[in-house]
């Protein structure tokens, strides 16, 4: 009985490890696409932030500190690819991931339904905080125009792509099947 339990625990850990590797691979692929292919597929000059969508979906589905670390890693990687100073975007990712993880505890089982509207809200929050800070730093004006022309369409675009990521995170990685990170 005890041996069988240990085997089951080992099997679950292995599965979680491979799931995490797969999600990391997806993240790298998304960042690659985001910097190369997606700008050519922009709709009304809006380009989706796929890494953010993945982080939100992963945080809602997985929960726990792993999701926080994953989000920080994704944020840092995105900043590294964009160039310039690093850390702020990762901090925003951490904050949003934290909220998602907290929400996922309360809305367990309904996170799949909640994901698209949450993606929309969180994308708006992220973009407003990020670009707002940048505008203050650069001493720029016209944030309203950016909100209407870029942030809002991008948030819609992200929302449209969200179900794909919910499906990916849920089915491909098998995270939900292997049990939520309850640590």
């Amino acid at each position: 009985m005890q041996i069988r339990y240990r085997q089951s625990v080992r099997k679950n850990r292995a599965r979680t490890f491979w799931s995490m590797l797969l999600v990391l691979g997806i993240l790298l692929l998304l960042l690659l696409l985001q910097t190369t292919l997606l700008p050519t597929l922009s709709v009304f000059s809006a380009v989706p932030n796929l890494s953010l969508v993945l982080c939100i979906c992963f945080s809602l589905a997985h929960g726990g500190p792993t999701a926080l670390v994953f989000s920080v890693f994704a944020g840092l990687l995105q900043e590294a690819l964009n160039g310039g100073a690093m850390g702020y975007n990762a901090l925003l990712y951490l904050m949003l991931s934290w909220i998602c993880v907290c929400l996922s505890d309360r809305c367990s089982g309904r996170s799949m339904l909640l994901t698209p509207p949450l993606v929309f809200i969180f994308t708006l929050v992220h973009a407003c905080l990020y670009w707002g800070a940048m505008f203050i730093l650069w001493n720029e004006h016209g944030f309203g125009s950016l909100l209407l022309r870029h942030i809002f369409p991008s948030a819609l675009y992200n929302t449209v792509t969200a179900p794909i990521f919910v499906f990916l995170v849920d089915k491909l990685c098998g995270i939900e099947a292997s049990g939520r990170d309850l640590a």
């Binding site: 960042l31 690659l32 696409l33 910097t35 190369t36 292919l37 050519t40 726990g64 500190p65 926080l68 670390v69 920080v72 840092l76 990687l77 900043e79 590294a80 690819l81 160039g83 310039g84 100073a85 690093m86 850390g87 702020y88 990762a90 901090l91 951490l94 934290w98 993880v101 309850l182 640590a183």
Partner: protein, 274 residues
């Protein structure tokens, strides 16, 4: 540790680490140095990004060709037709421009020589091909052209009318081996005869002979008609002395004269009525 507490600890630790990282990153940026993390990530991603971009471009081109292939083909054919028509129009315009220049030059020749009665003619045939020995013009006896009339252009002497029909005339050029023109070297005033000469592998020329020793022209001397013999009016440009050679058999010097007229570009002449 409770799951909520552990999460909180991790979050606070991450936030603290990120704040520290942010500080370092901004300091590096201020110092004008690239963040090593950025450098590393971008170095790793660059080949992948290049590959994806190239792939996506190739795919887009393929998709574009697949979707719009028929339209592109039609457009291509239409553009080819248009280009061809425009090319023809351009060539026509060029031809008209050249003809205009030619006619203007002939008009200048006529106005500059009021003592001569001149008739403008178009060359309709070059009977000896690239030898330019005989030419045929589009006007003849009907226009008053008769055998013995002289053909000229603004460049100089072309030849003499050797046959004239109702609406055509044949000109034997000065390059013809049977053509002999009485000429004069402008600088030395030496009188000589210029005869057509067939130069192998080269453009035909005239030979000036006999020329007395001591009166030999030098290369670059201008040769014009002398008017002697009555065959050609005086003062028409014939050519330029190019080379002086010695005929060992006859123990005599002769001069090769390059004609003024460019026979290969000749399209119209003026006939001076004699």
């Amino acid at each position: 540790m409770k799951k909520g507490n552990k999460r909180r600890v991790v979050a606070v630790a991450l936030a603290a680490a990120l704040f520290a990282f942010m500080g370092v990153s901004y300091a590096l940026q201020r110092a004008g140095r690239t963040n090593p993390v950025t450098q590393c990530v971008q170095t790793l991603f660059a080949p992948l990004q290049r590959g994806v971009t190239k792939g996506s471009l190739a795919m887009r081109a393929w998709m574009d060709a697949w979707v719009n292939g028929k339209r592109y083909l039609e457009e291509n054919q239409r553009l080819k037709r248009e280009a061809s028509a425009q090319e023809q129009a351009l060539m026509q315009a060029e031809s008209i421009k050249k003809e205009n220049e030619r006619l203007r030059a002939l008009l200048t020749l006529r106005e500059g020589n009021p003592q001569f009665e001149m008739i403008g003619c178009e060359i309709i045939a070059k009977n000896d091909g690239d030898q330019f020995f005989t030419l045929q013009v589009d006007k003849g006896a009907e226009s008053g052209i008769k055998k013995g009339d002289v053909a000229v252009t603004e460049q100089g002497l072309v030849g003499k009318v050797t046959a004239a029909g109702k609406n055509w005339a044949q000109i034997t050029t000065i390059l013809h081996p049977e053509s002999v023109v009485g000429v004069r070297v402008v600088r030395t005033e030496t009188i000589a005869l210029a005869q057509g000469h067939f130069l192998e592998g080269n453009q035909n020329a005239l030979i000036l002979s006999p020329v007395l020793e001591g009166a030999l022209p030098v290369a670059g001397d201008v040769i014009e008609t002398s008017g002697l013999g009555g065959g050609y009016p005086k003062g028409l440009l014939v050519g330029v002395a190019e080379e002086i050679k010695r005929n060992a058999a006859q123990n005599q010097d002769f001069v090769i004269v390059r004609p003024m007229v460019e026979f290969q570009k000749l399209h119209a002449v003026m006939i001076i009525k004699m």
